[in-house]
C-alpha cells in the first residue's frame, strides 16, 4: 500500500546513474513486468470472487442454499451442487491456464538478457533485474529493455536510429542523439562506470512524444527532451551499439503505461443471459407467488378438512406458513427454466467453436506456418455481432513494404501493363518482370513489369535519364557496402528507399556520398556531383531539393515533393505536360499510390552564388532565421521544369481490399486508427477502397485547440445535414425520407461520408462535451480514419464507441501500440507470426493475415452466433415447456410442489447439446421462445389431462395414475422437442442424425432401465417407477395421446414458419441472399473505376520523411570517419557544428505542431 501511495504521489523522478543504493530509497519499480492477473496465493479468492459476480453462479449458489433446508427442498441438494462445482472448477481451470501462459510470456520477456554495466564490466543480466539508474548496452536490432537516456553510441555524435513501429506504427526510422557531454564517453567502460549524473525528470506517464528532464553532471546542467530518450519497445537500427541509462523501468515505461488494463470480457449474450436470468427469476417469483397464494387458499378451503381426515400432522401449520414454504419449493422446482446445464452446455458449445476456429485450414497462413488461434473460448458468438472494427494500419493493413510501382516521365506513363489489345490489365503472375541481370548492382528483390521504361533507358531518352538521375541524387539515403561487396542502402524513409532502388535498377546507381559530393554510377560510368545545397524536407514545404553541380559544371536544382506544392512552382512553359501529369497523378492517387512530383531547374552560376550568399547571411541571423531561410528556399525553387511523377505503393497485406469490401457489405464499419501521418493514413484509406472519390464529402478535423475542434465538428455536421437536406429537397422521391429525417436523422443520411481526425484534435474531441458531437459525426460517416493517435487514444476511441453506441467492437492490430485498444474492445484480434508478441498475448483471437478477419467474422462468427442463439432459443423453449407443466399441475394437486416427470427428464437435456453444434439461426427471440414454450406446455399438460380424465386402460385399469401420467407427459415432451429440433436443424449431418435419434433412443433406454425390475430391486425407494414404462407404453390410448400432443404442438409452429417464409423472408433467408449478393458484388467492387471525374482531383501525396536529415547530411555528422570530408571550392558547412544539433532537435520537436499548422484550409471538401 505504501508503495502504491508513494507512486501516486510521484511528481518528479530523481535518478542517479550507476548508484543503485541511491536510487533504491525512492522505491522505483524495477524492470519486471506483470501482465498476469493472479499469483498462486491470490488465485482462489480473486477467481471465486470474479466468478460469483456472474448472476447465474450467484443464483445457483442461492438455490443450493435453499435446497439445503429440508422443509422446502423438493429436489436433492446435490443436483445443483455437482454441476455448480463442475462449472466453477472448469472456469477456474481455464482462467488458471490462461494466466499460466501470461506468466510464461512475462517470464520470457523478463528473462531476456541485456548487457548491464556493473563494476566497470558488462554483465549479462535478465531484463527483470535491470534497475533504474543502470547503464546498459544495446546492440543493433535489439529490443530496448527500458526507457533509456541515450549516453553514447557507435555513430558519430552519439546518434542512433530507432524503429518505433511497435510504439506508434510509424515506419520511418527515427534519430535519437546523446548529449554531446555524454557522447564523448563512447564505449569506455571505466568512464561510463564513473558517470554519476543525476537525472531529474517527469514522473512516469503515457505520453510517447514528450519528455522533459534535466541532467546534472560535473556541476553543469543539461536539459533533456524526447530526442535523448529511447523508449522500451523500440528496436535499435543501423547502429551497432549504444549505451543508455535506465530512467523508467518495467511498469513505469511509456510502453507499459500505454497498455490498458486487462479486463474481464463477456459477450453480449452473456450479459443478455444475466438480464434474462434476473427476469426469469422474477417470473419464477411471480409463478411461485401465484402458486403459494393458491396453496394458501387451498389449504384454507380444502386442505384443512382433508388434513383432519388424513390425520395430517398438526404442527401448528397454518395455511399462510404452508404457502410460504410452497413458494420456496416452487422456486426450486421451477429453476429448471434456467438449469445449470444451460451454462455448462454454453461453455461446451463455445469450446467446440473455438476448436473449429483453430482447426480451420482456410485461416492457416502457410507463409509463416501459423494457424488461427482462439485464445479465449468464451467470446465466439460475439464474433457474429460485430458492428465496428478498429484496425491498426502498419503491419495489419499494410505490409510495411514500399515498392516503386509506376511513374510518369515527361507525360508518358510507365509501369502499367497492357495486353495485346492495348487495354490496361492487372499485373498477374503471367507478366514477365523486367530483366535487370545486365546490371550487376541491381537489387534482386525489385520487380517492374513495364518493359518500355527499360527500353527508353536503352534508347537514351534524356528526360528519362534526368528523371532517374534526380531519384539517385535527391534523397537522404546513406550507402554502405556489406562484406560481399553488395551495395546496402540505409534509409530513413521507406519511400526514398523505393525510389533510390528503382533508379539503381534502371542504371542510375547511387554509390556514396560525402557532405559535399554525391557519387552515382550512370549506366556504368561513375559521376561525382558536388552537393551545393540541401533544401531539406519539412511538413510545410512538403518537398525537398538538392542543388548540385555536375562534372560539366552545370548547376542544377532537383526537387521532389507534393504535387500540390510543386505544381505551383513550375515554369509556365510546362502547362501541357502539367495537364498530362496531373491526369496521371489522379490515376495514381485513385489507386491509392503514394505520389511525388519530380521537377528540376537549371541554375546559372551567378544567380546561385548570389542566392547562396544570401542563405549564408540568413543563417548567421539570430532571429527570424527560419523565416528568412524558408523565403530563400521559396525563391530558388521556382520556374521548375516538370519531369514527371513517381508512384510508390505502400504494399497492402494480401486480400485487404476484398476483406474490407465484404465487411462493409456486411454492414460492419471499419475505422483505421494509426500513429502514422495524415497523408499516409488517407492514402491507405484510398488504397483499401475505404475512401473513394465517389464519396460525397471527406471531413478533416485537424484543429489544435478545443474551440477549433468544436467549430470544425460543428461545421462538418452542418455540412452533412445541409447537403442531405438540399439533395432530398430537390428530389421528390426522397420526400418520404425527408419526413423521416427529423425522427431518425442518422438512418436517412444518404451518400458516403468520411471523417479524418488527427491525434491532437482527437485529444480535444474526446473531452466530455465535444465527445457526443464527434461520435455522432463519426457514426454517420462510412469511414473514419484517426491518424497520429497514441496507443491510449486508440483505446479511448474504442471505449467511446463501445460505451456510447452500445455496439460490439473489434480491434485488430499487430504491435505493442495496439495492445490497449485490443484490450478495451469487446474482441481483440492480434496479428500473429510477427516479431513482437504483445498484441497477440493481449488478444482474444490471433491469426497471421488481416484477410482472415473476413472468415473469422462472416463464417465462424456468424455460425457461432446463430448456433448459440438457436441453442438458447431451443433450450429456453424446452425448459419453459418442461417447467410450466409443473405450474399447470400445481392447479390440480392442491398447489403442493410436485416434480412431475422426475429423474428421467432431469437426465436428458444434456443429450441434446452436442447435437446442436451444427445449426444456424437467429436472434433474441426469448419471448417468442417463452410463448412457444408456454403453448407447448399447455398442450403437453391439458391434452393428457383431458384424455386421462375419467379414462381407463385397455385392461380396464385406471390409467390416470400419477406415474403413468408423468411417463406419458415426459415421453410426449421428448418427442415434441425432438420433432422441434428436427425442424430447427438446418443442416442434417451424420452427427445430427446420431444425436437426435440417439437422444430419443437414449431417452427410451433410460426410461426402461429406470423402470426395470432390476433397478427397483436394488433401490426400491429411489426408483419407484417400476414397470411403468412397460405398462404405459403398451397402451394404445397413451400413444394416441402422445401423437396428438406432438401434432398439436408442432402444427402451429410449422404454420407460422411457413407463413413467415412466404410473407416475409426470415433473417437467415435475407442473409443468404445478402451473401449471394456479396459474391456477385465482390468482383465488381474490387475493380476500381478507371475513369474519374476530373473535378475530383485529389493529391496522392504521402511521404514518410522527417525533417532534419538534410542538415545531418550536409553537416556530415552522420558519416563515418572513413569518408573524410573533401574540401571543395565552395563553402559547405552551413552551420557550425554545435548549432546544428540544437537546431535539429528543435526542428524535430516542432514537426508535430507544424504539421497541424500547415492545414491552412482546415476543412475542405473534395467535391
Amino acid at each position: 500500500m505504501f508503495c502504491s501511495e508513494k507512486k501516486s504521489l510521484e511528481v518528479e523522478r530523481i535518478v542517479k546513474a550507476n548508484d543503485r543504493e541511491y536510487n533504491e530509497k525512492f522505491q522505483y519499480a524495477d524492470n519486471r513486468i506483470h501482465t498476469s492477473k493472479y499469483s498462486i496465493l491470490t488465485f482462489l479468492p480473486i477467481n471465486l470472487f470474479e466468478q460469483f459476480q456472474k448472476v447465474a453462479n450467484a443464483y445457483f449458489l442461492f438455490l443450493l442454499l435453499l435446497q439445503l433446508i429440508p422443509e422446502i427442498s423438493s429436489l436433492t441438494w446435490f443436483t445443483t451442487l455437482v454441476p455448480l462445482v463442475l462449472v466453477i472448477t472448469m472456469t477456474a481451470m481455464k482462467d488458471a491456464t490462461d494466466d499460466y501462459f501470461r506468466h510464461k510470456s512475462d517470464n520470457q520477456v523478463n528473462n531476456r538478457l541485456s548487457e548491464v554495466l556493473i563494476d566497470s564490466k558488462l554483465r549479462n543480466e535478465k531484463w527483470m533485474n535491470v534497475k533504474v539508474g543502470d547503464i546498459i548496452k544495446l546492440e543493433n536490432n535489439q529490443f530496448v529493455a527500458a526507457d533509456l537516456l541515450l549516453l553514447s553510441s557507435s555513430e558519430p555524435h552519439g546518434l542512433c536510429y530507432i524503429e518505433t513501429a511497435e510504439l506508434d506504427g510509424e515506419t520511418n526510422l527515427k534519430v535519437r542523439h546523446a548529449l554531446s557531454v555524454t557522447s564523448e564517453l563512447g564505449a569506455d567502460f571505466s568512464r561510463l562506470a564513473k558517470f554519476d549524473g543525476i537525472v531529474v525528470c517527469e514522473a512516469p506517464n503515457n505520453k510517447l512524444d514528450k519528455f522533459t528532464g534535466v541532467l546534472s553532471w560535473k556541476d553543469s546542467k543539461h536539459s533533456l527532451n524526447n530526442e535523448n530518450i529511447i523508449l522500451r519497445g523500440c528496436i535499435l537500427r543501423n547502429t551497432s551499439w549504444c549505451f543508455g541509462m535506465v530512467i523508467f523501468a518495467g511498469p513505469d515505461t511509456k510502453l507499459m503505461q500505454n497498455s490498458g488494463k486487462t479486463k474481464f470480457k463477456r459477450t453480449s449474450i452473456d450479459r443478455l443471459m444475466n438480464t434474462l436470468v434476473l427476469w426469469i427469476f422474477g417470473f419464477l417469483v411471480c409463478l411461485g407467488i401465484i402458486l403459494a397464494i393458491g396453496n394458501s387458499i387451498w389449504e384454507n378451503q380444502v386442505g384443512d378438512q382433508f388434513r383432519t381426515f388424513l390425520f395430517w400432522n398438526e404442527r401448528g401449520k397454518n395455511s399462510l406458513f404452508s404457502g410460504f414454504l410452497t413458494f420456496w419449493s416452487y422456486i426450486i422446482i421451477l429453476n429448471t427454466v434456467v438449469p445449470i446445464s444451460l451454462y455448462v452446455s454454453m461453455e461446451v458449445i463455445r469450446l467446440g467453436h473455438s476448436y473449429f476456429i483453430n482447426w480451420d485450414r482456410k485461416m492457416y497462413y502457410a507463409g509463416k506456418s501459423t494457424p488461427a488461434e482462439a485464445r479465449t473460448t468464451t467470446l465466439n458468438e460475439e464474433l457474429g455481432q460485430i458492428e465496428y472494427v478498429f484496425s491498426d494500419k502498419t503491419g495489419t493493413l499494410t505490409q510495411n513494404i514500399m515498392t516503386f510501382q509506376k511513374c510518369s516521365i515527361n507525360g508518358k506513363i510507365y509501369g502499367e501493363v497492357h495486353d495485346d489489345m492495348g487495354q490496361k490489365t492487372d499485373i498477374t503472375k503471367k507478366n514477365e518482370p523486367v530483366d535487370f541481370s545486365v546490371n550487376p548492382q541491381a537489387d534482386r528483390t525489385f520487380q517492374f513489369f513495364d518493359h518500355r521504361l527499360m527500353e527508353s533507358v536503352k534508347l537514351g531518352d534524356s528526360k528519362v535519364y534526368e528523371f532517374l538521375r534526380l531519384l539517385a541524387l535527391c534523397h537522404t539515403v546513406m550507402s554502405e557496402e556489406n562484406s560481399a561487396g553488395q551495395l546496402i542502402y540505409q534509409v530513413q524513409s521507406p519511400d526514398e528507399g523505393a525510389l533510390v532502388t528503382a533508379a539503381r535498377n534502371f542504371g542510375f546507381i547511387f554509390k556514396s556520398r560525402t557532405p559535399e559530393t554525391i557519387t552515382i554510377e550512370e549506366l556504368g560510368t561513375l559521376v561525382t556531383y558536388q552537393l551545393l545545397a540541401f533544401l531539406d524536407f519539412n511538413n510545410i514545404r512538403k518537398r525537398m531539393s538538392v542543388i548540385v553541380r555536375n562534372p560539366e559544371g552545370q548547376i542544377k536544382l532537383y526537387s521532389k515533393g507534393a504535387d500540390t506544392i510543386l505544381f505551383e512552382k513550375l515554369h509556365p512553359s510546362n502547362e501541357d505536360l502539367l495537364t498530362l501529369t496531373t491526369d496521371h497523378l489522379s490515376e495514381f492517387a485513385g489507386e491509392g499510390l503514394r505520389t511525388l512530383a519530380i521537377a528540376y531547374r537549371d541554375l546559372d552560376d551567378k544567380y546561385f552564388k548570389e542566392w547562396h550568399k544570401m542563405l549564408e547571411d540568413a543563417n548567421a541571423l539570430m532571429d527570424e532565421r527560419d523565416e528568412r531561410i524558408a523565403g530563400l528556399y521559396e525563391e530558388i525553387e521556382r520556374d521548375l521544369m516538370l519531369l514527371g511523377a513517381t508512384a510508390v505503393e505502400d504494399k497492402l497485406q494480401e486480400g485487404v481490399i476484398e476483406t474490407i469490401t465484404s465487411l462493409s457489405l456486411a454492414n460492419i464499419k471499419i475505422w483505421v486508427l494509426t500513429g502514422d501521418k495524415q497523408e499516409t493514413a488517407i492514402n491507405i484509406g484510398y488504397a483499401c477502397n475505404m475512401l473513394t472519390d465517389d464519396m460525397n464529402d471527406v471531413f478533416i478535423i485537424a484543429g489544435n485547440t478545443a474551440v477549433e475542434v468544436r467549430e470544425e465538428l460543428r461545421k462538418a455536421k452542418e455540412n452533412l445535414f445541409g447537403q442531405n437536406r438540399s439533395s432530398s429537397n430537390g428530389d421528390v422521391v426522397f420526400e418520404k425520407q425527408q419526413l423521416e429525417l427529423d425522427s431518425v436523422v442518422e438512418e436517412t443520411i444518404t451518400g458516403d461520408y468520411a471523417l479524418i481526425i488527427n491525434g491532437h484534435s482527437l485529444a480535444h474531441a474526446l473531452e466530455s462535451d465535444v465527445k457526443n458531437d464527434l461520435l455522432e459525426l463519426a457514426c454517420m460517416c462510412k469511414t473514419v480514419v484517426c491518424c497520429r493517435v497514441t496507443p491510449l487514444q486508440k483505446a479511448q476511441v474504442v471505449e467511446l464507441v463501445k460505451n456510447y453506441r452500445n455496439a460490439v467492437t473489434l480491434a485488430i492490430g499487430d504491435g505493442a501500440n495496439d495492445v490497449s485498444m485490443i484490450k478495451s474492445a469487446h474482441i481483440g484480434v492480434g496479428i500473429s507470426g510477427q516479431e513482437g508478441l504483445q498484441a497477440v498475448l493481449a488478444s482474444d483471437y490471433s491469426f497471421a493475415q488481416f484477410r482472415y478477419l473476413q472468415r473469422l467474422l462472416l463464417v465462424h462468427g456468424r455460425w457461432s452466433y446463430f448456433r448459440m442463439c438457436k441453442f438458447l432459443c431451443y433450450f429456453f423453449y424446452k425448459n419453459f415447456a418442461f417447467t410450466l407443466v409443473h405450474f399447470w399441475f400445481g392447479f390440480f394437486c392442491g398447489f403442493s410442489a410436485q416434480d412431475v416427470s422426475d429423474q428421467n427428464s432431469m437426465d436428458y437435456p444434456q443429450l441434446y447439446e452436442p447435437g446442436q453444434l451444427n445449426q444456424l439461426f437467429n436472434k433474441r427471440k426469448f419471448f417468442i421462445c417463452m410463448a412457444h414454450g408456454i403453448y407447448t406446455s399447455l398442450a403437453l399438460f391439458f391434452i393428457p389431462y383431458g384424455a386421462f380424465y375419467n379414462a381407463a386402460g385397455e385392461d380396464g385399469q385406471h390409467i390416470a395414475d400419477y406415474q403413468s401420467f408423468a411417463v406419458t407427459m415426459a415421453t410426449s415432451l421428448v418427442i415434441v422437442v425432438s420433432v422441434q429440433i428436427a425442424l430447427d436443424t438446418s443442416y442434417w449431418t451424420v452427427i445430427n442424425h446420431v444425436f437426435i435419434w440417439g437422444s430419443v433412443a437414449t431417452y427410451f433406454s433410460i426410461l426402461f432401465t429406470m423402470h426395470s425390475n432390476g433397478i427397483f430391486g436394488m433401490f426400491p425407494n429411489q426408483f419407484p417407477f417400476v414397470g411403468n414404462a412397460r405398462h404405459s407404453l403398451t397402451q394404445k390410448c397413451i400413444w394416441l395421446v402422445i401423437l396428438l400432443t406432438t401434432v398439436a404442438s408442432v402444427v402451429p409452429v410449422v404454420v407460422l414458419r411457413f407463413l413467415k417464409m412466404d410473407l416475409c423472408p426470415t433473417l437467415s433467408d435475407r442473409i443468404r441472399q445478402r451473401q449471394k449478393a456479396q459474391k456477385k458484388a465482390r468482383p465488381l467492387r474490387s475493380r476500381r473505376p478507371q475513369t474519374r471525374r476530373s473535378s475530383s482531383r485529389r493529391s496522392g501525396y504521402a511521404f514518410a520523411h522527417q525533417e532534419g536529415y538534410g542538415e545531418l547530411i550536409t553537416s556530415g555528422k552522420n558519416m563515418r570517419a572513413k569518408n573524410p570530408p573533401l574540401t571543395s571550392g565552395l563553402e559547405k558547412t552551413l552551420y557550425n557544428s554545435t548549432s546544428w544539433l540544437e537546431h535539429f532537435c528543435k526542428k524535430t520537436t516542432d514537426t508535430v505542431s507544424s504539421f497541424s499548422q500547415d492545414k491552412t484550409v482546415k476543412l475542405y471538401t473534395y467535391l
Partner: protein, 360 residues
Amino acid sequence: MLLMPQKYISVTCRTKMKRTSKDGQSKLPDNTALKQQQLPASRLQLSATGVLSCFFATGVFCLGMGIILILSAKSIKEIEIKYTKICGNCAKLREDATNFDKVCTCSIPFYLPETMQGNVYMYYKLYGFYQNLYRYILSRSNSQLVGTDLKDVGNCAPFSKSHDGTPIAPCGAIANSIFNDTIILSYKLNSSIPIKVPMLRSGITWWTDKYVKFQNPSSINLSSAFAGTTKPPSWAKPVYELDEEDPGNNGFLNDDFIVWMRTAAFPTFKKLYRRLNRIQYFIEGLPAGNYSFNITYNFPVTRFKGEKSVVLSTLTWSGGSNLFLGLAYTVTGAVTWLASFSMMAIHLMLKDRKVLFIQQ
C-alpha cells in the same frame, strides 16, 4: 420459369473440400470433414408442396382418428351412481371418527336398460380427493412394501410409527387412507331373489405391481412375518388379515391395496375395483334388468367435501377412453385442414402478386 413454385424439398449436399496438402507442417490443421465443418449435410426446407401435402395428410389422419375415437367412445356403456348422498346416514355416521366400529350398509337399486356387452368393469370413483398432494405421494416406503425391510418407514411421517414406537406396516398417509368400502353388485333375475353378480378381483393390478413392486416379507405365515409392526391408525384390521382366505391376496399383495397405492394424478379419479366374471347369466356381459349395489360404507368423504360413486363400464379397443381424445383429434384435424387451406390461399395469392410484379 419464375411462375414455378420456388421452394422444393431440396437436398443439397455440400461437397467435401478436396485439398492437396503438400506442406507437411505440424501446425497445419488436419483436413478432416469434421474439423473443417465440411460434413456432408442435407438441408430440410419447408417447401410449399411438401408442407401442404403433409398438412392435408395430417388433417385426414386426425379427422379419421377423431371420428373413430368418438364412435368407439359412444359405444361404451357406462353407469355411474354417486352414493354419498344416497347413503346419507352412513356418510353422517362416518363423519365422526369414533364410530369406526359401527357397521353401516347401504343398498342402491338401479335399472340397467340395455345389456352391457363384453367385459364389464366396476370402478369406485372419488371426487375431491387429492391423491396427488406432494407430501401425500411421498408418504410411503417402497422398501417396506417390497418386503425387504419392514422397519424402513423413511418418508412415512406422521404415519411411520405408532405412539409406542412400533413401526406401522404399511406405513404412510397413502396406505392409511385406503378406500375401504365393500361394494357388492347383485342382479334380480326374476324380481325374486337377487343373485350376486360374480366378480373377479384378479387382474385389476399391474403385473409389475403385483409381482415386483409389492411383496410380502418371507415367513411361514403372514402374521408372524408382520410381527413387530402395527396396523395403520385408520385401519380396522392389520394388513395380514385383509384376505385370510386367499394368501395371494393377503398382506401387501392385496389387490385393492395395490390399486389404492398407485396414486392418481388428479383429485377426481376412478380406480378399478372388480371385473365381471363372465359365467352363467353373465357370459354375454351384464344383461339388462334390475340390479342393486350393496355397499358397506366405511370411507368418509364428506369431511373434505368429497364424493364417492361406483361406476360400471365396458371398454373398447382403445380402453375406456372418454370423448375428449376423439374430440381433440377431430378439432386438431379440422384446424389442420383449415390451416392448410388458408396457407394454400395465401401462398397462391402471393405467387400471383409476384407474377404481377414481374410483369410490370
